[in-house]
């Protein structure tokens, strides 16, 4: 049987959702028999494959680059899972939305810089005015709230998808969990 291909994406988040995914412990072996991770911060692929069955996205949309990435992913992916509060609600990254982008950069790179204070300008994606959840830009098929979602919820979601069912994880996790 052909394995289901999966990508995991890391946008504006703390990587805690990826950690929580790894927290499914030995069950990852069971999943690995049916699932192949073809793109992820955890593996070494550089470019997004032409087709992926499932993409699990952690993190909120914060930069112009994030949007480009998302649109590309959406067009090359079957099912998109927004994993964790940042992807689902904007969560902690969205707390900067009450400030001007310039002020945010200054706080980080000028006021609190130990040396060489100054805003970064080259080679970096520029910050969007507002941080938004993933579904504001592309269609999301499964939402898994939680900060991070517990490993059990992630395992449940992935197993259900592998079974061809539509997972409803809300009884296993919630906003802020």
């Amino acid at each position: 049987m052909k394995k289901t291909t999966m990508a995991t994406i890391w946008l504006d988040g703390c990587s805690g959702c990826h950690m929580s995914f790894l927290d499914i412990d030995e069950r990852i072996l069971e999943l690995a028999q049916r699932l192949e991770i073809t793109y992820s911060p955890l593996v070494d692929t550089k470019s997004y494959p032409d087709h992926v069955d499932v993409a699990v996205i952690e993190g909120a949309v914060s930069t112009d680059e994030d949007i480009i990435k998302l649109k590309k992913i959406r067009s090359k992916t079957g099912l998109i899972v927004a994993l964790g509060d940042c992807a689902v609600t904007g969560n902690v990254p969205s707390m900067r939305n009450n400030f001007q982008v310039g002020d945010v950069l200054d706080r980080a790179y000028v006021e609190n810089a130990a040396r060489q204070p100054g805003r970064p300008h080259e080679m970096l994606p520029s910050l969007l005015e507002k941080v938004k959840p993933v579904h504001d830009y592309v269609k999301v098929d499964v939402h898994v709230p939680g900060c991070p979602p517990p490993a059990d919820a992630i395992y449940y979601v992935l197993s259900e998808i592998l079974e061809g069912r539509n997972p409803d994880p809300i009884q296993m996790t919630r906003f802020g969990r």
């Binding site: 509060d85 609600t89 904007g90 009450n98 900060c147 809300i170 802020g176």
Partner: protein
């Protein structure tokens, strides 16, 4: 109770035959019979206001949805507390509430002890379709014991009512209107400078979210204690007789 006799009504809630005093609300009767209707602005012991609209129920023979918290029973009434339509509306109302202010559950002191969060789980709200409004809100930490964080306020008015009706201080009220409505103390004075606040803390404990909290609590530490409400309400009722 006065010795005036109150008539008894019989009605159906979700297909079950129940009886009620004529002056009881659908919500109260449902609760007595173990039928749990979602509520947010309602709190036993405070005057119901019918503002959050989560407790809307269907009544056979009427196409109007009625708030269970303020609608009194009628003989032969047939009430439905759950339906596809009700559930859809309730979910939308919750989504509106989540989109209105800046509810970042992960860093909230009331995380895990929050009525809004619980309702989201119960009604199956796993994401918010409406764009977040991201208003700029104030956090008032001027009081030596309490903090008011407007980012998490749902304008249910429980604090306003408990302060006016039970404590008798009426330190809180609403100011402004529409989506600009805010709860304020005195003349929008910092809470710590309020002359009328008695520091009783009831507002903090009736607050359904982390909008009113005790100082010095960290994330997920602020559980609310509401045991005082039934007793105070009972005392007040006895005083009135």
């Amino acid at each position: 109770m006065s010795d005036q006799t109150v008539s008894i009504k019989t009605l159906k809630i979700d297909g079950r035959d129940v009886s009620a005093r004529a002056d009881e609300t659908i919500l109260a009767v449902a609760q007595q019979n173990g039928i749990d209707i979602p509520t947010l602005c309602h709190l036993d012991g405070l005057t119901p206001v019918g503002a959050c609209r989560l407790c809307l129920v269907e009544i056979a023979g009427s196409n109007k949805l009625l708030p269970a918290c303020v609608t009194t029973v009628r003989e032969g009434m047939e009430v439905f507390t759950e339906s596809e339509k009700l559930n859809r509306y309730r979910k939308m109302i919750l989504e509106l509430l989540f989109s209105e202010r800046n509810h970042i559950c992960a860093v909230c002191v009331s995380n895990g002890h929050c009525d809004l969060q619980d309702l989201a789980v119960r009604l199956g709200v796993d994401f918010i379709r409406y764009p977040y409004l991201h208003p700029v809100e104030k956090v008032d930490a001027s009081h030596d014991r309490f903090v008011q964080d407007d980012n998490r306020c749902v304008l249910c008015g429980r604090c306003v009512r408990v302060c006016g009706e039970l404590e008798g201080a009426h330190t809180w009220d609403f100011m402004g209107r529409g989506v600009q409505t805010r709860v304020i103390t005195d003349l929008d004075t910092p809470w710590g400078e309020s002359d009328s606040c008695t520091r009783c803390g009831k507002c903090v404990h009736v607050c359904p979210t982390g909008a009113l909290i005790e100082k010095g609590r960290s994330v997920a530490e602020m559980a609310k204690r509401r045991q005082f409400l039934p007793y105070l309400t009972l005392m007040r009722q006895e005083d009135q007789q």
